[in-house]
């Protein structure tokens, strides 16, 4: 497939595309296990994260099945407590935090920058193995006597429960370092490895989002690291920092925990913004609207995210003044977030919208994330929060943001970059059907939870009053639909790998640099750094669809 490719101002294609790529460059287990290639590390991350997602998802399905009826349905109450803890810990620390940055970011970021690799390839590999080590610690906790504290590890329960909190906390501690190393690597890569002509305002929005995310990873994660270390030592030596019976202060734990974990919410969702920002203009065949605002709003979210942790502690004895300030700053976050959503919608306005799988995920993202974001504003109001705190309303809110935001964007990103990363097109029909199923399942699962919560159903409860039963059962039905959607998608993606490479260089007609090289990319990405002469979303008119190769090529080439 000697496809005509790019103009001279972009990189010249490698002489023999398809014959030698990063997947086939070296063979054998060690060539993967010791690889320093960002694409291979990204692929390893992707596989690992998706495996963890399957584990966390299985926990979720068991939990939802248990909640079909009040009282025991399939598991005991203690098992239930352990399972929701591990569901949360696995999904947050093993899936969502590394999901988009470490898996998709590793594959796409250096390519979008026209770089040969990230700045520190060995650190990148170390980050992956720390992830593996952290996952092993989490599983150790599962096998021993799984922690039952909830993923938040709140003291004093976490310092006194007999379950294996220390391995789970150790796992989260190690995963924190994995996350820091990825973030550090990306910041340096974005600063130092940009190609000639790519100024800050020619970066793809995905890169901007990863940059903002990386700043949070570097600035917030060390604090959770030291906090979890103190928690572990507290459990082992009873040092009395968090345990009130030894003179410690459990609210200090909450402060430390949320000083990280609230910014961490943005570690989870800002990369999703980046994916959506890359997908929407491409599938609308229209230049992005308000590029600079979208780019800088990511930074604004990162900055404001550090100042709002107290909104998790409105009912933890925090002063009214502190509460009011935290509440006000939390409202402010709605502004940069809304800027993004409005700009994406305006980008689609009068565009030629192609409803391919990635775009369907992007549209699903807009819908569910807006609901998730706006219900966050409800929770930021102190008086409302007193009523809704620790109810299913909160559960529904953060699942709309985490599932609906981060996971939908992750799936959209996987479908968007899949042809680039693996050189294969997936079955478009199954992909679209999967996207719709996931969207329906998500809403059926979590919307009833808003109603449950506002009527007083507390979160994390094993039993419930009879009047909550219909809504719980509806939610469980939604979870099954969701599971089906994921299963279908997974089968479709795996099946695509079984056929020979068939993806064109540029299947979607995107303008960012990763689409100017072969699919899958060659081992060294770019032989010479490409020179960039336009923005990442400019001149879609210059690309025409070629039926023969089922991809886009330069007009007149």
């Amino acid at each position: 497939m000697a496809s005509p490719s790019t103009t001279a101002d972009l990189v010249a294609p490698r002489p023999s595309p398809g014959s030698d790529n990063y997947l086939t460059h070296e063979k054998g287990f060690l060539s993967w296990a010791l690889t320093l290639d960002h694409k291979r590390i990204g692929v390893m991350y992707l596989i690992s994260v998706l495996a963890a997602f399957a584990l966390g998802g299985t926990f979720a399905l068991i939990l939802r099945t248990e909640l079909l009826t009040s009282g025991k349905t399939i598991i005991e109450h203690d098992t239930y407590n352990q399972m929701f803890t591990l569901h949360g810990a696995v999904m947050v620390f093993l899936v969502i935090i590394p999901g988009i940055p470490a898996a998709l970011g590793n594959i796409a970021l250096p390519l979008q920058l026209g770089a040969k690799d990230v700045a520190f390839p060995r650190l990148n590999l170390a980050s992956y193995y720390l992830w593996v080590l952290g996952a092993i610690c989490m599983l150790t906790s599962l096998v021993m006597n799984a922690a039952d504290t909830g993923w938040t590890f709140y003291a004093p329960y976490s310092t006194t429960t007999q379950t294996a909190v220390a391995p789970a906390a150790m796992g989260a501690f190690i995963l924190g370092f994995s996350s820091i190393f990825t973030g550090l690597n990306f910041i340096v890569t974005i600063h130092k490895l940009r190609p000639p002509g790519m100024g800050w305002f020619r970066l793809p929005l995905f890169v901007w989002a990863l940059y903002s995310t990386a700043l949070i990873q570097v600035l917030a994660t060390p604090v959770i690291g030291i906090t979890l270390l103190m928690l572990i030592v507290e459990r082992l030596l009873h040092i009395g920092i968090f345990d009130p019976s030894l003179g410690g202060d459990p609210v200090l734990f909450q402060h430390f925990f949320w000083f990280y974990s609230h910014p961490a919410v943005y570690i989870m969702v800002v990369p999703g913004f980046g994916v959506i920002g890359d997908i929407i203009p491409v599938f609308s065949r229209k230049r992005i609207f308000g590029y600079k605002f979208i780019a800088v709003s990511s930074l604004a979210i990162a900055f404001l995210g550090f100042l709002v942790w107290g909104h998790h502690m409105f009912v933890a004895g925090q002063s009214l003044l502190a509460g009011s300030i935290f509440s006000a700053i939390t409202f402010l976050i709605a502004i940069p977030t809304a800027i993004k959503v409005f700009n994406w919608i305006t980008t689609m306005y009068k565009g030629r919208i192609h409803l391919d799988t990635p775009m369907l995920y992007a549209l699903a993202f807009l819908w569910v994330f807006t609901i998730g974001g706006l219900t966050g504003v409800f929770l930021a109001v102190m008086s409302v929060d007193v009523h809704l705190h620790d109810t299913y309303f909160v559960v529904a809110h953060f699942h709309y943001v985490m599932m609906g935001g981060a996971i939908t964007a992750l799936l959209g990103g996987i479908h968007y970059w899949w042809p680039k990363a693996f050189g294969r097109m997936y079955n478009e029909k199954v992909g679209r059907f999967g996207a719709v199923t996931v969207f329906v399942g998500l809403n059926v699962t979590f919307f009833p939870q808003f109603i449950l919560g506002s009527r007083g159903m507390p979160r994390r409860y094993y039993n419930y009053l009879p009047e909550f039963e219909p809504l719980h059962q509806l939610s469980t039905l939604g979870a099954y639909i969701l599971g089906l959607g994921f299963l279908m998608t997974a089968v479709s993606l795996v099946r695509s790998l079984l056929k020979p490479p068939d993806a064109p260089m540029n299947p979607w007609g995107a303008r960012t640099l990763e689409w100017t090289i072969t699919s899958p990319p060659p081992y060294y990405n770019f032989k010479t750094p490409p020179t960039v002469t336009r923005g990442p979303y400019d001149d879609y008119e210059g690309l025409v669809y070629d039926e023969k190769i089922r991809g886009y090529v330069e007009k007149g080439a």
């Binding site: 060995r122 170390a126 910041i187 040092i239």
Partner: protein, 332 residues
């Protein structure tokens, strides 16, 4: 590429990760379209994904600064915990600091300052290709780091021996007013506390066994009476109350004892100095690795990045101690 894979198994710590070569004067090459091989051939330490040695050095420098930032934030959690507890229970900190040996702390501060000097000097040596001076300075740095750890070991073993352990294991074998550091600062208060304590002991003994204690019981009673008559002076009382030995913060109100939750200080002390000590140990490992590298005379004006990054890390470790020393040892 070959050098990148050969060092693949190195420690995952970022300061050793940038396979940095430096070229102070490499700017002229810029980001060009020209073939890279000549630059890579001329600079064996230049990794394949960098275009120029300058780019590689800058990337490493930014990386190490970011890493140091995360280190500062890592310790910031502990400093924050320190601040919270000191404002909650100032008496615990006053009480406990008498147990720390200021002289050993000061010695360690000097040792670390000296090592920071030699570390900074080593960077200069590397830039100027002064191979033997470079090795000497690295050796001195390592020696200082080891000396620091030895002193820390002496301090820790004294603490263990004296029952100064964190949490519920805290059981000091000595009363604080019997310590030289306390007596030296507040001789009158020490005497007064000793007096009160002995009187209380006698009273207790008398109460437990009135018959056997009869001859001395009189004395104790006399002593007690004496105390109630003579009001203690400010010099006698104030240091004891400030340290929670007597008064509302003490475990027992009337008999000299220790403040409630005194063990929290040693939890924080061991946590902070222990984590710092771990950083010193990691630093020793890094310097030994660099000494082995320096032994091959690889450093020069074109390649001194690793020494530079290690020295920056070392300065931070030093700086953290500069804060720990006054915060833990020099309270008041």
């Amino acid at each position: 590429m070959s050098d990148a894979t050969s060092e693949a198994a190195e420690s995952p710590k970022p300061k050793s990760v940038p396979p940095a070569a430096d070229h102070g004067h490499g700017d002229g090459h810029g980001h060009g379209h020209e073939e890279h091989d000549p630059i890579h051939l001329a600079n064996p330490n230049l990794a394949h994904h960098f275009d120029t040695p300058q780019q590689q050095f800058d990337a490493g420098k930014l990386g190490i600064w970011l890493f140091l930032l995360t280190e500062v934030l890592f310790f910031a959690g502990l400093f924050c915990a320190y601040t919270v507890y000191r404002s909650y229970r100032p008496e615990v900190f006053v009480y406990a600091h008498y147990f720390l040996d200021t002289k050993l702390g000061a010695l360690n501060t000097c040792v670390l300052l000296l090592s920071s000097l030699t570390a900074a000097w080593a960077v200069r040596n590397a830039q100027l290709r002064q191979h033997s001076l470079l090795k000497l300075n690295i050796v001195i740095t390592i020696a200082c780091a080891c000396a620091f750890m030895v002193v820390k070991y002496v301090e820790y073993s004294h603490k263990f021996h004296d029952g100064l352990l964190p949490g519920p294991h805290f059981a000091p074998t000595e009363q604080v007013w019997e310590l030289e550091s306390f007596k030296h600062k507040h001789p009158e208060a020490a005497e007064y506390a000793e007096h009160l304590y002995k009187a209380a002991e006698k009273k207790k003994a008398a109460a437990a066994n009135p018959a056997a204690a009869a001859p001395t019981g009189e004395h104790a009673a006399a002593g007690d009476a004496h105390e109630t008559h003579v009001r203690p002076t400010e010099e006698q009382l104030e240091p004891l109350i400030a340290a929670g030995i007597l008064g509302p913060k003490a475990e027992t109100r009337d008999v000299p004892s220790k403040p409630r939750n005194a063990h929290v200080f040693f939890s924080i002390y061991f946590f902070m100095t222990g984590l710092h000590g771990l950083h010193v140990l990691i630093g020793i490992g890094i310097w030994i690795w660099l000494l082995l590298k320096a032994n091959k005379n690889v450093f020069g004006p074109n390649y001194f990045g690793p020494i530079d990054y290690a020295a920056l890390y070392w300065h931070l470790v030093d700086l953290i101690w500069i804060y720990l020393f006054p915060l833990l040892y020099l309270i008041h």
